[in-house]
Amino acid sequence: MITVGFPELFRLVLPEVIVVAAALAVLSVDLLFMRAAARRTRFAVAAVISCIGCLVAAVQMLMVPQQASVFDGMLVISPQTQMIQIALLVMAMLVILLSIDSTFTPHVGEYLALILFATASMMFLVSSENILLIFISLELLSLSLYILAAFNKQSVRSAEAALKYFIFGGISAAFALFGLSLVYGLSNSTNLTQIAAAIKNPLDPLLFAAIVMVVVGFGFKVAAVPFHFWAPDVYEGAPTSSAALIASSSKVAGFVIFYKVMVIGFAGAEGSGVWRGYVSGWVPVIATIAALSMVLGNLVAISQTSVRRLLAYSAIAHGGYMLLGIVSHTPQSFDALLYYVVTYALTTIGAFGVVAVVEDKIGGDKLSDFAGLSRRAPVLSFCMLIFMLSLAGIPPLAGFFGKFYLFTSVLTAQARTLGLLWLVILAILMSTVSLYYYLQVLKRIYIAPTLDDAGPIRTPIVAQTILCLIAFGVVVLGCAPNILLVWLK
């Protein structure tokens, strides 16, 4: 166990500290000085403070790259994890900026602080390889997200969503904790690498039970089938920015840690999910839930009439694709997974941003509310076009390259025998199906005639700018993915 003194520790966790400090600053400023101001001003000020905090943290990480592994893996910092943390910070900033125009709550400071707390917990989560700290960060994240989901006190849906989220989440956390404790029992260590070293018998039933339970816990986090039931309701009920955060950063963090736990922690017990080459282990388990997620997510999305629920099921489907990156547990597949999940997160934030504007100006998020949007808000519609097509996997957008890279890395894992080809085929075919429901949204926007009393919509300027920025980013990352690839390595 490598220990460091507090000053050193402080230096290592400075980014997280800055974020927490920003959260506290937001809270104090809002509670002390801004109570009388208009909601939008309060939001603006709080957003500015939060963004400054995040920026400072990000810049700090860029300027002072670290490499450390301390306290039994509780804090493992490498350039790659720092890049992931920067990505999380960027996503938090985007969500915060998109929430500026929200009208659902008077508790501005609390809301943004919670977002920042969630971000900080995610930052801890991705830089940890110790099951104890993983669990703590996971719980911190989950608690923040539960509250964020419930924040719209005027909406029954929001409360219902949060309740479901909380109950599901609590149970899954229990599973995860139980599994992790079994793991501790088996290996007498909380550090992932030491755990892997300690596993002597990969076919130990106890180990197997532990694996399954851990998978349940993390599967819930990434909304994989059959642990996905919370997702549609939460996506539908939570306020848009909360949903955006849940759908984006939490997914990023969730997948990163899922990967680490499985690949590093259960390193000897992979087994094999190769076609006709089943070997007992966690790989076939994850392969199965990946396949189920891809199929179920895409097929159920077809019949959705609410865009939010559609995005939820599509999230489940995308989660399935991303699980493939864990199935083929190579460093290249981790890079591909990172690329995919980061671009996916950005796109989802954008999609939710559009939904927020539509809900605000038109009144709902049903497909029919989007009718004729291209004539009413051309720029907004174009952004949505980019997001939907990227999610569908149409080149030259980021979503396509993500899929391509991910599938290639999955196949490369078994390059000679192409054993995982069946998963890739399933993924590509399901991806084809997904085009149908993304086109449904675009059909409403571009083709359906406008409703009778529909005039042009003025998108708020901040939202418009952010959405255009994200759309631009998606296009650029699709055309020149090297930028992100190199950056994430």
Binding site: Y446, P481, V486
Partner: protein, 499 residues
């Protein structure tokens, strides 16, 4: 320089969408863009002495994966680029009268053209795939917004079929990429890589079918008649004229070049088939005859032309499967010829007839005596029909002749069926021409129709002239295509069952 065809087309898209551009200006911008693309292609065409491959641009794109931005053209690509340019210009001329959301129409049209140019110019398979998929979305919107019968269903069907086909292609490409060491997607290098034979035996049909879906191979052709009928004229011209050729081009350029051993004999026989070559040749011939027979009984004028496209593309696929130089060059020539003629036929049916009479029902048209009301359209259709039957003097003759000759050497019975298909082709073309244009109206029931406008005339004459020129002097294209077929790229194809 050829890369400019892509760039100009894509650059025009945001220009067209600027709010300050009027509808009139947008037409002119679109026309100038298309003409510029055609001009560039013609200049390169004129300078090109042989069909050897010439690299246009080659830069590293995603070094991590070994993917390059590699544009190049050989004789085959150049012929198809020329086709695209011509049909693009003609399509814009025939869309001159569009008023509803005209700017978006031209923007989507040019985006589609840009994607198509990109496919024909790509020599890196990843890039080819990217452009191939880019072309799908503009097609969807073009049909769904400006189409006619059943347009939303037709557009979705087309988009999903194309996407499914490209999904199959993607599986094959990724598999090939990984097996070859995940270092490069360059066409030339992958063509030289010795993929294991059993590997090629399943990737070849996968990729071939994936592309053949877009080429309208039976039985994956059902999107084509629905799609063509629903699409607005310029889109059907592009769809039948160029986009279906994308599929056939992919079959030749990707499937047959990368996995030539997939065409070899299996060593055993199943239902009389001994290799994928036999299977696809049969499917091609079925397409020829089925398309022709179904066209014969159609009541809707545009459906006749739609099914005739399926029938003619069957010739292309049959030519590809003959695995002989004459058959393959016939296939490429047929791609060019049918592209021009399909464009012309759809232009007459859609723009000249339907836009004026608002009906495509042959029985209704028969009562209108269109040859008296719009004689130019009647004359154009007659000439186009003669050409599409394969009358010597027009481009179709040499193409079909070469395909038939190649087929005779490889599959004599199929050649006879294809010949029967040609004869049925005469019949359905004849029937459509008679009914649509030369019916006799009840006396006194004739009303006037708007005359054929100048852009339509220019477009029609342009297409007829091209078909005539290539028909009378096919060496213009054959000089490019035949050396391209002899290039080292097709070495793998020339072993095995090459005739």
């Amino acid at each position: 320089m050829l890369a400019w065809t892509i760039y100009i087309s894509f650059l025009a898209v945001p220009v067209l969408l600027l709010p300050m551009v009027s509808v009139r200006a947008s037409r002119i911008i679109a026309l100038l863009t298309a003409m510029a693309g055609l001009g560039v292609t013609l200049v390169v065409f004129a300078h090109q002495q042989s069909g050897e491959m010439m690299t246009v641009t080659r830069v590293a794109w995603i070094p991590t994966l070994g993917l390059e931005y590699h544009l190049a053209a050989d004789g085959i690509s150049l012929s198809l680029l020329l086709l695209t340019g011509i049909v693009a210009v003609a399509g814009i001329l025939f869309s001159w009268n569009i008023e509803h959301r005209a700017k978006e129409f031209f923007a989507l049209y040019l985006a589609l053209i840009g994607g198509v140019y990109g496919v024909f110019l790509s020599f890196d398979l990843f890039l080819l795939f990217v452009f191939y998929e880019i072309a799908i979305i503009p097609k969807y919107f073009l049909i769904a917004i400006w189409g006619s019968t059943n347009r939303e269903y037709a557009a979705m069907k087309l988009a999903l079929y194309s996407f499914a086909g490209s999904a199959l292609v993607l599986i094959g490409l990724i598999a090939a990429y990984v097996v070859a060491g995940a270092k490069t997607m360059n066409l030339v290098e992958l063509a030289q890589y010795p993929f294991p034979v059993h590997f090629q035996m399943w990737t070849f049909p996968l990729v071939f079918i994936g592309f053949a879906v877009l080429a309208g191979m039976w039985p994956f052709h059902t999107w084509a008649p629905t799609g063509h009928v629903a699409a607005p004229t310029a889109a059907s011209m592009l769809l039948a004229g160029v986009v279906m050729k994308l599929g056939a081009y992919g079959c030749l350029r990707v499937a047959m070049t990368l996995f030539p051993r997939g065409l070899d004999a299996w060593g055993f026989h199943v239902l009389g088939f001994g290799s994928w070559r036999d299977v696809f040749a049969l499917l091609a011939v079925i397409g020829i005859v089925y398309g022709a027979m179904v066209a014969l009984v159609q009541k809707d004028f545009k459906f006749v032309v739609g099914y005739s496209s399926v029938s003619h593309m069957g010739f292309v696929l049959l030519g590809l499967m003959t695995l002989s130089q004459i058959g393959l060059s016939g296939a490429v020539l047929q791609m060019f010829s049918h592209g021009i003629l399909a464009g012309l036929l759809f232009a007459v049916v859609g723009r000249m007839v339907y836009d004026r009479t608002h009906t495509r029902d042959l029985a209704a048209l028969e009562k209108m005596s269109l040859y008296k009301l719009i004689p130019f359209a009647a004359a154009t259709f007659v000439i186009a029909s003669m050409a599409s039957i394969g009358l010597p003097g027009f481009s179709g003759f040499v193409a079909e002749l070469q395909v038939l000759m190649g087929a005779w050497r490889a599959f004599p019975p199929y050649m006879i069926c294809a010949g029967v298909g040609v004869v049925i082709g005469v019949a359905y073309t004849w029937r459509a021409m008679q009914k649509a244009f030369f019916g006799e109206a009840e006396p006194g029931s004739l009303h006037t129709l708007p005359p054929i406008s100048t852009p339509e005339r220019i477009g029609a004459i342009m297409l007829i002239a091209v078909s005539l020129i290539i028909g009378l002097y096919p060496q213009l294209l054959l000089n490019l295509v035949v050396p391209a077929l002899n290039s080292p790229l097709f070495d793998g194809l020339r072993k095995g069952s090459w005739q």
